[in-house]
Amino acid sequence: MSITEDEARKVAHLARIAVKDEALPALARELSGILNFMEQLNEVDVEGVEPMTGVTPMRLKRREDVVTSGGFADKIMSNAPDAREGFFAVPKVVE
């Protein structure tokens, strides 16, 4: 499996990571190398095997559907790069 520069550009955009055009050939090469390594998995007979979701055979824990925490918006905002009047501030979203 080989990844083209176009595919590399697409995957970078899906991952929301800016990649300069001149860096795309190297990126495509690296990703192709890793995917080639993964091709080994095709040798395994996985017929009838369920994909594993968790390693411990336990039911996910449940709890009462009640509020257990909260009321500290200021603490949550304290690490924001840009917060104003109790909101996270971001550049314009809608044109």
């Binding site: 990571i17 594993m52 996270f88």
Partner: protein
């Protein structure tokens, strides 16, 4: 007492209980050692004032007769653990300036037990790496040197933790192990590293890499210390839905030194092509030691071993791409400088491009690719099926009466910094060949220093145990440790 920082946790506990030293003295010894260790680049955020306050409180607690085994013990914390009021950024630029408003369960458990926090330790960014070179702080350096004073990697991702323990900067340290990140650095530095069973230690407040594989554990000078420290770190935690509802035993009391009749499996698939003679000989020697102690050595087969690495490098990046989506420059950490007219997508893309290092970017993109429409079944689901087969291999071995599996921890001793070709990531991934299997199966494993290679560098063997039987595993590890009698320490050059 002199050289208090060189004590083991068990020795320090006994000295504190006997009134031969104080937590304040122990802490000052460690802080002094840390101050003189900048060449190792192990500690990256010091918390000396906090350490002194905690040490005073520990001494009061000891005086009041309310000490636990960890009370007054100075420890280092891997940067990946959130500690309230202390910079916690998983060695990533994207979390520059992040100071948590909350405490991870593991560190809270340690403070509740009376442990003393010395500072945050270096690591690979987001725990992705095997050399500690992928760090925004620069590489941590192994206290063990190569020929002609060559600087070596302490391994990764918990490289700072391993270097700090090996250089006696702290009595113990926390690490995390997603694909070998506790055991490989332990093997490279002549220290003990325990990765507990998935679910034994809470993941709450530990910055996530791959949530179905991540597990925190202790890195210490001895197996006994690992037992003591695991007891303080482990808990049943409602904040982590995968935390196991099992009481935490007194692990130290399970160290009987008796392993007669235990069946130790030697998996033939681990004898890979090109295994260095030193490693193969060490493995045989380790098996002999356990046999001499009364264990039965059994050849076993774990047929899907070969596929663990490729399965891991699908599953871990897939989970990482999802976990690391949260770093978007909005809620915490850094945001890139934006140009005129840049919108929110440019903000995301620029922030993530400058905040994440190359290896993290690579894994996020691989993960994005294997989860994308059209490839999900071919890569991600296939890898999860192979993962089920890898776990089944271990289940079968244990069902056949095997008590633990013995294997090398790493395919080599520590190698020079810069030796890994950064343009061929697969080369570095091969470092994890012996360690990732148990992460995929969720099993506990411990690396014990057993010998030295021709250059005099430490080599480790790992024991892989049954789920939630860390006590028995540590008992076997202690027998191996005692038989090996590894006492070598690095010559101080830093």
């Amino acid at each position: 007492m002199s050289d208090l920082n060189k004590l083991t946790i068990a020795e320090a506990r006994d000295a504190l209980a006997a009134g031969k030293t104080t937590a304040v003295e122990l802490t000052e010894a460690c802080l002094g050692a840390i101050e003189a260790s900048s060449a190792l680049n192990a500690f990256v955020h010091g918390t000396a004032d906090k350490a002194r306050d905690m040490a005073k409180a520990a001494d009061a607690r000891i005086k009041a007769g309310e000490a636990t085994a960890m009370t007054g013990i100075p420890v280092g914390i891997k940067d990946v653990f959130c500690v309230k009021g202390v910079p916690s950024q998983a060695a990533s630029k994207i979390l520059d300036g992040f100071v948590p408003e909350y405490e991870s369960t593991v560190t809270q458990n340690l403070w509740n037990a009376g442990a003393v926090m010395l500072g945050k330790l270096n690591q690979d960014e987001f725990a992705m790496g095997s050399t500690n070179e992928a760090s925004c702080y620069g590489p941590a350096v192994n206290p063990w040197q190569g020929a002609d004073g060559q600087k070596l990697t302490p391994g990764g991702s918990s490289g700072g933790s391993a270097a700090a323990v090996a250089a006696d900067l702290c009595l113990g340290a926390t690490g995390t192990d997603t694909g070998g990140s506790i055991r490989q650095p332990a093997a490279f530095t002549g220290t003990v590293g325990l990765r507990p069973t998935y679910g034994r230690v809470s993941r709450w407040g530990v910055i996530a890499y791959a949530s179905s594989l991540d597990q925190a554990g202790p890195m210490t000078k001895t197996v006994r210390d690992a037992a003591i420290m695991l007891g303080a770190m482990a808990s049943v935690d409602p904040q982590d839905s995968t935390s196991a509802d099992l009481p935490v035993p007194d692990y130290e009391s399970l160290l009987t030194g008796d392993i007669r009749g235990k069946k130790i499996g030697i998996p033939r698939e681990y004898r890979i092509d090109g295994m260095p003679d030193d490693i193969a000989a060490l493995w045989d020697k380790g098996a002999d030691m356990l046999r001499d102690a009364g264990a039965e050595i059994v050849d076993i087969s774990l047929p899907h071993t070969k596929y663990a690495l490729p399965a891991y490098y699908v599953i871990a990046p897939a989970e990482a791409s999802s976990n690391l989506a949260r770093y978007d420059g909005v809620r915490y950490g850094r945001r890139a400088k934006l140009g005129q007219g840049d919108g929110i997508v440019e903000m995301y893309e620029k922030t993530r491009a400058e905040g994440f290092g190359p290896e993290v970017q690579r894994r996020i993109m691989i993960g994005t690719y294997v989860l994308s429409a059209g490839f999900y079944d071919a890569y991600y689901n296939r890898a999860r099926k192979v993962r089920a087969l890898i776990k089944r291999d271990f289940d079968n071995a244990y069902a056949d009466g095997i008590d633990a599996v013995l294997a090398p921890t790493t395919p080599s001793a520590a190698f020079p910094l810069g030796a890994m070709d950064q343009t061929d990531p697969v080369q570095m991934y091969l470092q994890d060949v012996f360690t990732v299997t148990l992460n995929l199966a969720g099993l506990p494993g411990v690396s014990v220093p057993v010998g030295q290679d021709k250059q005099g560098l430490p080599l480790g063997l790992q024991l892989i145990g049954r789920p939630f039987e860390e006590g028995e595993l540590l008992n076997q590890a202690m027998v191996l440790e005692q038989a090996a009698g590894f006492v070598a320490k690095p010559d101080r050059w830093w």
